[in-house]
């Protein structure tokens, strides 16, 4: 995903290069066979079977199941838990994308300056991104608990009245999931933004400063358009990651209280492995796939437009 740019740059370079003798030194097709076999076995065939099972009442065990058409999808429209999970998935993905990238961009602008601690800060702020998500989620489950560090901190600074069970309140719990993901991955967005900022030639920036434009104006008119590739990559990573979110919800709330934080992914897991409704569960996975595909197509369209605008 990250090298989309490279790819397009190289395509441009290839277009400019002189034509090659066709067929000369073309590597053999069988080089692709090992990768194709693995890919087909793990992704392609099971996914195709998954789409088929979504139209059956398969229970995950028996070879005896019936084709039931759209029944699983129809059942979904009558299932408040499923509808709620789809809504949560969209809400969480959008919230994470906006907040994580907003904070990531501010951090990048702060770190990409003359401050002495910039390298240390970059290493420190990015560190959570390499840590296992389930581990950070368990840490936060404690921090946000009634006896946890967040409430202690609030009590310590005289805001004791704000103390509450952050993960136990159905109205708050979903936002706590967002908070934990943003805490972990804001540094990731920052690193990508910093790379984008560093690719902007200093001369452009200095010329604008000499022309007398202020920092906000400089950011909006110069930095923002040149940062478009970094923005697109960041949006893509965070929105698709947000749509597939599972580990953090599983560890923080298990989807609760009630179903207040269930996402499509946690519901897929529960329906399949605690209720044995594999067919229905896979129908949910098909919905998830459709959402990812729509988001990717949208991102791709925006990416193309930005690329055209930039060139």
């Amino acid at each position: 995903m990250t090298t989309d740019l490279q790819q397009r740059r190289s395509r441009r370079a290839a277009a400019a290069a002189p034509p090659r003798r066709r067929g000369h030194a073309a590597p053999p097709w069988w080089f692709t066979v090992p990768a194709l076999l693995l890919f087909a076995f793990v992704v392609l065939v099971p996914s195709a079977r998954g789409v088929y099972y979504a139209f059956t009442d398969w229970d995950g065990l028996s070879t005896d199941f019936a084709f039931i058409g759209l029944d699983n999808f129809r059942a979904m429209t009558d299932d408040p838990d499923a509808l709620q999970a789809i809504w949560h998935t969209l809400l969480v993905a959008v919230a994470i994308t906006v907040i994580q990238n907003g904070i990531g961009l501010l951090l990048a602008l702060g770190v990409n300056t003359a401050i002495k601690s910039r390298n240390v800060l970059r290493v420190l702020l990015f560190a959570p991104a390499v840590v296992t998500p389930i581990v950070t989620a368990y840490l936060w489950r404690y921090l946000l608990g009634w006896d946890g560090a967040v409430n202690s901190l609030l009590g310590g600074v005289g805001l004791g009245s704000l103390r509450q069970d952050w993960l136990g309140d159905p109205d708050l719990a979903l936002w706590m999931v967002v908070l934990v993901v943003v805490w972990q991955f804001a540094g990731y967005s920052m690193v990508i933004f910093v790379a984008g900022l560093q690719s902007i030639p200093k001369e452009i920036y200095e010329a604008a400063a000499i022309d007398g434009s202020g920092p906000v104006r400089r950011f909006w008119s110069i930095v923002r358009p040149l940062l478009a590739p970094a923005i697109t990559i960041n949006l893509m990573l965070s929105i698709i990651g947000g749509i597939k979110l599972f580990d953090q919800v599983y560890a923080l709330t298990g989807g609760g209280p009630g179903h207040a934080t269930d996402t499509i992914s946690t519901l897929i897991y529960k329906d399949a492995f605690t209720l044995g409704e594999f067919g229905y569960s896979i129908a949910l996975a098909v919905v998830l796939t459709a959402i990812v595909a729509i988001a990717s197509a949208g991102q791709y369209a925006v990416l193309n437009r930005n690329e055209k605008a930039a060139s």
């Binding site: 793990v42 560090a149 590739p229």
Partner: protein
Amino acid sequence: MTRYTSRTLALEMLMIAVAVVFAFPVYVLVNLAVRAPSDTSSPIALTSSPTLTNFTQAWQEGGLGGALINSVIVTAVSVLIVLVVSSLAAYPLARSTAHWSRGVFLLIMLGLILPFQLAALPLYQTIRDLGLLGSVWSLVLFYAGLQVPFTTFLYVGFLRALPRDFEEAATIDGCGPLTAFRYIILPMLKPITVTALVLNAVSVWNDFFTPLLYLSGSDQQTMPVAVAGFVGQFVSDWNLIFAALLISIVPVLAVYLALQRSIINGFAGGLKG
């Protein structure tokens, strides 16, 4: 831009303050992990008499040693396989202009969109029928296939930007395609291989959903599953849990700190072109 003014100092102070807020959870993590369970003072107060007993107890009771070995095996073997097969496949896919090449590339790129939740349940059935449930080799197989699209994508993008002169010269000199790949292409792929290695290793090591499915009910665990099991077992014995959490992330953090420059560049990848 490079002068250090009083405004730079103010920004420096602000950024350090932000970093302190970010680091607060980690402070609590370490602070409680070294605290005896009998010490009931506030979680934000610095532990007065630190102890390492939580770590020894967590290590013994959590089966973390076995999980660590499994995680290392699964990550190392699956990433090695995916790097080899993807770079090999990327070579003709990047070079050939034939219809089949374009078709195969698009087919593999389809894998970038398909969420693994879709394939996970049917594949669960296949893995069960093969008798591989509860075996770490099911995970090796899974990641080796799952990471093919992304890794191939990285390699194809990188290869297309590389000049063909060296391999053409090698072919004229009578080099076979496999030899040309091994001695000409592979060395030139080193920068993107580092990126692919870092991104794949982090996502395989940290994955929780797959081992949760394929290893559940067995005595085999990877680090994330062992940690989840540990939390389930010791529910609110947070001092002990935090020691286990720390043990599980120390290997990753050690590698990160040792290789921070290549790792951060790997994640920022692509943008540098």
